[in-house]
Symmetry: C2
Subunit: 248 residues, 2 copies
DNA sequence: CCATCTTTGTGCACACGTTCACAAAGACAT
DNA sequence: ATGTCTTTGTGAACGTGTGCACAAAGATGG
């Protein structure tokens, strides 16, 4: 899971399972591609292949939304695009602020995938006064002093944090205080937020580490087992010989 | 879940559950912070708070690694840092190539979190000949013609794709053919890879859409139910009430 | 109108993940 | 030593997610 939901029972989002919600954008993308090619209908099998999931899962996912689809035929592409968009809330406009316009923030500002869904960048905010007024992706950088005013004026409910780790919690607190209730966090920190605020995090370093884990496993599969797996019950500090990193 | 494991039974990575693996980097980060403050030991409760998880989960996670920790005291910080690092494979050097040095690729190249773990950027690769030779994050951009040679020469097993969606599958195929077996994909596409290759994806647009879904739910909780939830069993086209996007 | 064929929607069984709650392990004081 | 106190490690219960396999729905052709 990639979410940082700080508390709350974890799923129960009015019927639709969290795992399904996480896949809806995937289906939507595949459907949009089909729509652009003017394909009128798809079977669960075809769509599942395009989205990279298995067809039974896809059918079950759609069954949570309602009984769209026609047996013997498949799903009407345009109709499904509409239904999923609506379910995800993409038929309305979501003003978003991005805080921290470094390399990553600029990349986000330039990313086309936002505007095409209902997301509209209301403002780019950076703490560096020297940057204020400069244009990124056609938008002027605003100074962070203005954060509260910007959020209030644009009724922003979604904030993106792309600051260094050290600044993230403070920015988060200010966003929340100003009325933001959903946060996408790119800073490598655990954010703590009050009840009712959703946080999702994207952490590049974590993803790489997970890959490294599996990579190591693949590499280790040839040899039986070197000194890789420690004897269980080994105790820390029973006798001092931990040189910077080594255990007892 | 953020992974794009294309097939395979899903978990079973020599004992350690996938969900646990995904949290190890989180623990590692919290422990590293403690280590820098020269804190000698932590209880599961404290560490869990720092990592943003619940303490029972943390203890169970650690129990898969072995029986580190001392009852009545807690865990030895340095020792745990070492054990987790080793389990994740971070005690070795992982050469990485980043393909597609646009805004996002540059942000990744400049991201400090790589080098601090065992990840070393072996090369930055871009398809634009006009960019070749330019420096980003102190490294020269290489042309994609050299991709295969670079991967082979540096024994690169991990590749990062930060190209536009259209180029991603071809880059992926070339990386895999050249010997890469783990891919971190930032392009908004489903990559298909042969067995034995791991793909993880990070998709900005998907994360925002998930937030929008929950945001919409929060907003809709006040009013009972407008036209938001369609009657189940509604058929496409039985009566026209979906403008602009309705099917036949 | 009936038979056939395709594809959905879902009941069911199983796997995975989370949380509780507590016994056992050890530290520490006396 | 013995007792008390803290904190781990884990068995067991529960909840969530996945995938199979098939009945029911509807299209299509004769």
């Amino acid at each position: 899971m990639a979410t940082g939901r700080t508390h709350r029972p974890a799923t129960r989002s009015r019927g639709i399972p969290e795992a399904t919600v996480a896949r809806l954008p995937l289906y939507l993308r595949a459907l949009t591609a089909l729509s652009e090619r003017s394909v009128p209908t798809v079977s669960s099998e075809e769509l599942a292949a395009a989205a990279g999931v298995n067809s039974a899962k896809l059918r079950k996912d759609f069954s949570y939304l309602g009984s769209y689809g026609t047996r013997g035929v498949g799903y009407d592409v345009e109709y499904l695009v509409y239904q999923i968009s609506r379910e995800l809330g993409l038929t309305q406009d979501w003003p978003v602020v991005i805080v921290g316009i470094g390399n990553l923030g600029a990349a986000l500002a330039n990313y086309g995938g936002f505007a095409s869904r209902g997301f509209r960048i209301a403002a780019l905010i950076d703490a560096d006064p020297a940057q204020t007024g400069k244009q990124v992706a056609g938008l002027p950088l605003r100074h962070s002093d203005e954060l509260e005013a910007i959020v209030a004026a644009n009724q922003v409910s979604i904030g993106v944090i792309a600051t260094p780790a050290g600044a993230a919690q403070e920015v988060c607190d200010r966003l929340v205080a100003a009325g933001v209730t959903s946060i996408l966090n790119f800073a490598p920190t655990v954010l703590s937020v009050p009840d009712g605020v959703d946080v999702r995090k994207v952490d590049l370093s974590i993803e790489l580490q997970i890959l490294a884990f599996h990579e190591q496993r693949k590499a280790g599969e040839e040899q039986p087992a070197s000194a890789a797996r420690p004897a269980r019950g080994q105790r820390p500090g029973t006798d001092g010989d931990v040189p910077a990193v080594m255990p007892a």
